[in-house]
């Protein structure tokens, strides 16, 4: 068993577009062990400010373990300043991954908003070996929030983008792109990750058309090990921890407030 908590080295840390960064971690013991949807819990500093670790979906599990993040608060701002060769304290991988599509599924739809695109890269890496149609519906606030979709296209995904200000792709919310989905419940599987209102819209759409789906959730987290029970969300089966029972849940199981 790989150790739970490791000190690895930063292999690279680059700005991909105005808002987003990609951190590559030289984490040989974890290589090839990540299941899509799982996350790593990173301690951004050796002191107590900020106090909590920060959870990140694994973006890619290739030569390095990659995380994709936006520098928005004190933790990710510290991360954005990390350099090649720096030590990084990594817990994981942890969390319940996505269920991969059944054999009868012909179309996989990945619906993401903003930084919620992260877990779908590694999912498409795994699914590209199968004969599936992969569609990415991606919403961002502005041009600066739109991640270059090149790597998804390289994996054979059809990509459709919407921005709130219309600077790239369709003008409006990602829900404007739902008409790209083939509505056959027998052969379509929906995955979603992003802001709560977006996932709630996906849930409503999937329920209406009886589409199977899963959602990857995000919450403020302390332990990431199912110990503190701090990241619980409401589900149709009572409170569930995002870190341990999730982050991936059945799309219809989550109760969005």
């Amino acid at each position: 068993m790989a150790k739970l908590q490791n000190i690895f080295k930063v292999a690279s840390n680059e700005k991909l577009c105005p808002k987003f960064y990609r951190l590559c971690i030289d984490a040989k013991p974890l290589k090839g062990k990540i299941k899509p949807g799982q996350f790593v819990h990173i301690r951004t500093n050796s002191g107590y400010e900020p106090f909590f670790r920060r959870p990140f979906s694994v973006y890619r599990d290739k030569r390095y373990i990659e995380v994709f993040y936006e520098a928005v608060g004190p933790g990710t701002t510290i991360m954005s300043q990390m350099k090649k060769g720096d030590d990084i304290d990594v817990l994981g991988p942890v969390g319940t991954p996505f269920d991969l599509p059944d054999k009868n599924i012909k179309q996989v739809v990945m619906i993401a908003g903003g930084i919620g695109i992260a877990p779908f890269m590694v999912l498409s890496d795994v699914l590209k070996k199968r004969k599936l149609e992969m569609i990415v519906l991606y919403g961002g606030r502005t041009r600066g929030h739109v991640y270059p979709m090149k790597e998804f296209k390289e994996n054979g995904c059809k990509v459709h983008v919407a921005t709130d200000d219309g600077s790239v792709g369709t003008h409006g919310r990602v829900s404007e792109l739902f008409d790209k989905i083939n509505l056959d419940p027998e052969t379509t599987m929906v995955y979603t990750c992003g802001p709560t209102p977006m996932m709630a819209a996906v849930q409503k759409f999937a329920r209406k058309h009886k589409l199977k789906g899963q959602a990857a959730c995000e919450e403020i987290m302390a332990c990431a090990l199912g110990a503190c029970l701090g990241c619980s969300i409401r589900t149709t089966n009572g409170f569930k921890t995002v870190c341990y029972d999730g982050p991936v849940f059945d799309l219809q199981e989550i109760i969005f407030d």
Binding site: L4, Q5, Y48, F51, C223, L225, A227, C228, G230, F239
Partner: protein, 304 residues
Amino acid sequence: MSEINLSVKIGKAKFKNPVTVASGTFGHAEKYYDLEEVKKLGAITPKTVTLPAQEGNPPVRIVETPSGMLNAIGIENPGADGFIEQKLPGFQKIGVPLIISVLGHSDKEFQTIARKFTDAGGFAALELNLSCPNVGHKSLVAQDPKATYRIVKMVKKIADVPVIAKLAPNVTDITVIARAAEDAGADGLSLINTFTGMVIDVEKQKSVLGNFTGGLSGPAIRPLAVNLVYQTAQKVRIPIIAMGGIATAQDALQFILAGATMVAVGTMNFVNPRAPLDVLHGIEDYMKRHKIKTIKSLRGKVKR
């Protein structure tokens, strides 16, 4: 190495070293931890168990604070029967003595839960959580010396293992409550539970936590906790399990020098799961460096 004696006692319960984990901070050992490492701990204290199952408080349940956190989990747990059936065997399998933490919402519940665990057996000590700030009571048992005395006395009649009272820092004079517990026959004290606190989201102009208030823990409260342990150790003879922001061996040694018999790593488990073992190894290194043979000889030795 072999000449160092780290063993400690709470009542008749013996522990091979003074390091444990605070309740509510350690879970799923079987899935995540290297059990060979976990086996080195002096004791494990699972999350507080209540008589009926509790679903806990509505989100938001935690918020980061300067050098710490505020929580209002609300003791989500499977209840005494659920815990005894589903969780206790797994903890027992680890092979480290268990300190079982329980909370009743009435005298009767404390009695019943103590009986259930006494019947189940297979643990080293019973900790009475008299001090959770997040379960909706107007006052805590541990804010009232009479209630503390009454409940400890009642449980002592039932339990066949040492009984530990976990006290609250949210009191005018903790030593009064500590003495009430001692007078009632408590075999030890756990000091301290969290400080009641509040964080307000100024944009929304509302409290961040779903429960409105929560309990503050982490390194931010450590100096407060060290003082409360010191003050209490001056007034009672029973051993103290100290907790409050312990992250390193240096932190733990402060509590031992202040008079604690055992030390528990709590909130820091969330940030550094290796912290309890770092604390244990650091205490050993300190003792070697200072040529100290027994942990007992350090207890309460802070100079004035």
